[in-house]
Amino acid sequence: MKKIEAIIRTTKFEAVRDALARIGVNFFSLKDVKGYGLQKGEVHTYRGADLGADYIPRLQMDIVTSDEKVEEIMTTIEQAGRTGNVGDGKIFVYDIERVVRIRTGERDKDAV
């Protein structure tokens, strides 16, 4: 069992979601994340003064899946989420040790 953690552009969310739906991935958890670093956020203007966001807003999708589907999901997110510009995001894959589905009490592979 693996957890795929994908940091993607907020503007690419719908494309990635729909592409995942087409390969049968219909559930994931989602959170807003902020990137902070050398690359500055977009600079806007408010009343003539620069309004630079210090952070870069992105979305993080967490998908838990069986080992054999990992490559397909990674490739799908990669293709649907790419613009080719700096800031397209990253995908991380982790091992998952245990899983419990609370409603049924199923364990591990059955619960994924």
Partner: protein, 405 residues
């Protein structure tokens, strides 16, 4: 003068009074929108107290300082504390030749008085100590505004020289603007405005509130200018409605194009300031201008707005969160001078007279306001602590938040 006409005239001035009253909600709303949410209660508190202080001080001494009647000399007069209704018809139909009654005169002018201090409130937002601001407001509205106003509207020396200010581009707006300028010079900028990384934008928290405020102000301006005809004269009031609205529209368009050319963005806050700049600009000569001239005056006021905001922000490094100095001071000066350039009084001599008026009001109001806020600073302090500023004035001064979700 017959009774029916007196009733109609008086009723119009009372309606105009109601319209000027609602401008205080406009100011409260606009200023709230342009500050951060952590300072919203504070700005609303100030605006609530300003209308109260304005009306009470105008009752106590303001009205009789501004309109001292026969006690007037060129520069100062005082007809005594409180109100004294003249007997019989002298307080009614005969008071202003059938145009309005004595009490109508008082309440209409009292609504104007508080607007001057409201202008200051926006400029000093987000860092001034509440009590220090209230002390400033009391003295500003009780003494500085009416004494200066008397020079023109009370029949003082500028009136005698032929200076013209129909509804207060100078007497109300520039006076408030000079007060605001003096205060932000002594007060200094908000923390985080001028940093080692350059000039930082500090966006307001609610553009819907700011927009609502500007539309309420425009709405109220029909009374501010329309009531300043000082009767329900059909030709006079209807012309003033036209020039007032066209100038506001011109201001929006002028600010739109200029700010887009300067910043490459459609900055709503600039268009909102542009509308107000147009309104302030037409106020000195709203009854003198042709519709076309009013559009040009508004358009130029709108063009001035972004240039002036950037000038205060970058060149002078004076932090004015709502643009009060640009809208009320700079456009107030422009509107006053425009009386010498456009409309039925235009001419070189009039322009010089207008300039003398602008300078006289500038020196008097700015110097007194600067002294006043400096004395307040020495006596009781003028800024909240850095910690309170970061926390926000709502919690620091009021133990309250504007939004609890």
């Amino acid at each position: 003068m017959n009774e029916a006409l007196f009733t109609a005239n008086n009723l119009w001035i009372l309606v105009a009074t109601i319209l000027v009253f609602i401008m205080h909600l406009g100011f409260a709303s606009l200023e709230s929108g342009f500050v951060r949410r952590k300072n919203t209660v504070n700005i609303l508190f100030k605006n609530s107290m300003i209308i109260a202080i304005g009306l009470l001080t105008y009752f106590i001494c303001g009205f009789n300082l501004m309109y001292p009647g026969e006690t007037a000399t060129g520069f100062f007069g005082f007809a005594g504390f409180g109100l004294s209704l003249p007997d019989g018809d002298a307080g009614g139909i005969a008071y202003a030749d059938g145009a309005y009654a004595y009490y109508t005169d008082f309440i209409f002018q009292a609504m104007f008085a508080a607007t001057g201090a409201t202008i200051v409130s926006g400029a000093v937002a987000e860092r001034i100590k509440l009590n220090s601001f209230l002390v400033f407001t009391i003295i500003f509205v009780a003494l500085i505004y009416p004494i200066a106003g008397m020079w023109k509207w009370g029949g003082g020396w500028l009136d005698a020289r032929g200076f013209y200010d129909f509804a207060g581009s100078t007497l109300v707006h520039s006076v408030g603007g000079w007060g605001a300028l003096a205060c932000i010079m002594v007060l200094g900028p908000r923390k985080g405005k001028y940093t080692s990384k350059g000039i930082q934008a500090i966006p307001g928290h609610s553009m819907p509130l700011a927009t609502l405020g500007v539309f309420l102000l425009w709405f109220g301006w029909f009374g501010f200018n329309g009531g300043s005809v000082l009767s329900a004269d059909p030709m006079g009031v209807s012309l003033v409605f036209v020039t007032t609205s066209l100038a506001a529209a011109g201001g929006a368009v002028g600010a739109f194009f200029t700010s887009y050319a300067m910043f490459k963005s459609h900055d709503l806050s600039m268009v909102l300031n542009g509308i107000l700049g147009g309104l302030v600009g037409i106020t000195a000569g709203a009854d003198l201008m042709s519709p076309m001239a009013s559009i040009i005056i508004g358009l130029i006021a709108g063009i001035i707005i972004p240039l002036s905001v950037v000038f205060f922000d970058r060149t002078l490094k004076l932090d004015d969160p709502v643009g009060a100095t640009s809208v009320h001071l700079v456009c107030g000066i422009w509107g006053t001078l425009a009386v010498g350039i456009f409309g039925s009084m235009a001419g070189g001599g009039q322009f010089i007279t207008q300039l003398i008026g602008v300078l006289a009001y500038g020196v008097f109001t700015f110097v007194l306001s600067y002294l006043l806020i400096t004395v307040i600073k020495a006596a009781m302090g003028v800024r909240v602590t850095e910690e309170e500023e970061i926390k926000g004035l709502d919690l620091a001064e009021h133990d309250m938040e504007a939004y609890t979700m």
